[in-house]
Subunit: 229 residues, 2 copies
DNA sequence: CGAGCGATTGAAAAGACTCAACCACCGTGG
DNA sequence: CCACGGTGGTTGAGTCTTTTCAATCGCTCG
């Protein structure tokens, strides 16, 4: 059961403390963080921020998962990333003076802390390690997106699905992938019906197994092979 | 005619001085830059750096154009970006300690200056404005890639071609788009034959006109409409 | 129990790709 | 000056993939 009181999560106990950005923090710095952050409970399918609005701060995921997506021409969601416990969401928008280009929305009920833009930028200004970590993170992310673009442009839907399942396996460590077929299709970049047919193929090939909507990976290696397609 | 002496380009006269990164530089800072940079002449189809190698510095394009691409499974190029005069290429790799994920190669003969990693990072460390500019640039670029991914995943090839032509129109300001059909196909993310057929459609619809391989945009607005597809 | 959403299936059509052949241009070497 | 070879551009035909549209099913919630 999740904490709905908004008050009980401390940074000391939060996974995000070990995330790529804050992992360098000493205890004192974590305490500072604890003071400026505010924690909230989010229901399922609740937005953290919306495309077109102005960024006000960053979000630390204490518990739960969040999808980050942009909308194409006819409003179709394109899921860019699924963030899990311990991740910090929205810090990319802190450095450009522009509105969000993406929307972030919870996939399940979540505990999420918020750090205001001013507090966050203050941390960045005063902490060299944090700043370097951010620059490194931004660069790495940029490089990852290159792979992403190449995949989208060159791979078959089948190959992209295999790739997506590999990514999601990592994100859903210790539990089964649990997304609506539509969300999964919007992550892979295909129609829902196509996605379902391909999932069935994977089932027939004994690469995955489904339990209701949940997906269990049976043959990771085969996925890797297929994702090369 | 391009300067092949390697010595005659000074930062003072270079377009890159006004690029997003260096535009804040005062004269003195430009002089500093001038001292640490070395300038070279590049033939057509000559690589600046190659996927998998370790970054050694950044490149300022004084004259000429450069394609940035990654390779998919079967080695097929996916062109991520076409850089033009005044752009600085490769600075994203300065902040992650990883090998290049992309290759940069000249599309035409070019004059390109080089600033070593040490010199560049030294500039970044000592110049707050530059550093902020870089963080902003990285963030903006990251946001742009979101659009890119969404386009690739959701648009038809026809729509992507229209979008690509709009981008290239901007890059080839004052001249006509001049790419091999293969490069253009690799930018759009399609097969060369498909690209050629779609170009013919655009010609029939009087949206573009070709002069040999060069492409002239006749109806920009229509491209915008189509790119929504 | 009925409404509604998400999951699934079928059939047909559209979009893209592949393969193969041919053309056009350009620079080289005789 | 011209034939030759090579690269890049173009076209056609057939095939495969993916989408679209329509319909059905199953489950949960009020």
């Amino acid at each position: 059961m999740l904490d709905k009181s908004h008050k009980h999560v401390t940074c000391e106990n939060c996974l995000a403390k070990n995330s790529s950005l804050f992992k360098s923090f000493c205890n004192e710095e974590v305490d500072d963080l604890n003071i400026v952050k505010s924690c909230s409970y989010f229901k399922k399918s609740q937005p953290l921020f919306i495309e077109g609005s102005m960024p006000r701060g960053v979000f630390c995921l204490n518990k739960g998962k969040v999808k980050i997506f942009s909308r194409g021409e006819e409003g179709k969601e394109q899921i860019i990333h699924v963030a899990k416990e311990g991740e910090i969401v929205g810090f990319r928008a802190m450095f450009s003076e522009e509105p969000y280009k993406v929307t972030a929305s919870t996939l399940e009920e979540s505990n999420i802390c918020f750090i205001s833009k001013a507090d966050f930028l203050n941390l960045v200004d005063t902490n060299v390690t944090l700043r370097n970590g951010i620059m490194k993170e931004l660069s790495t992310e940029l490089a990852n997106r290159v792979t992403y673009i190449t995949n989208m442009a060159q791979k078959s839907v089948r190959g992209r699905l295999a790739f997506a399942l590999i990514l999601l396996e990592e994100i859903y460590t210790g539990e089964m992938i649990n997304l609506t077929r539509e969300d999964l299709a919007n992550f892979v970049g295909t129609a829902t019906e196509t996605l379902i047919r391909l999932l069935k193929d994977f089932k027939d090939e004994e690469i995955i197994q489904t339990h209701g909507r949940k997906i269990e990976i049976l043959n990771h290696d085969k996925l890797i092979t297929i994702s090369g397609t």
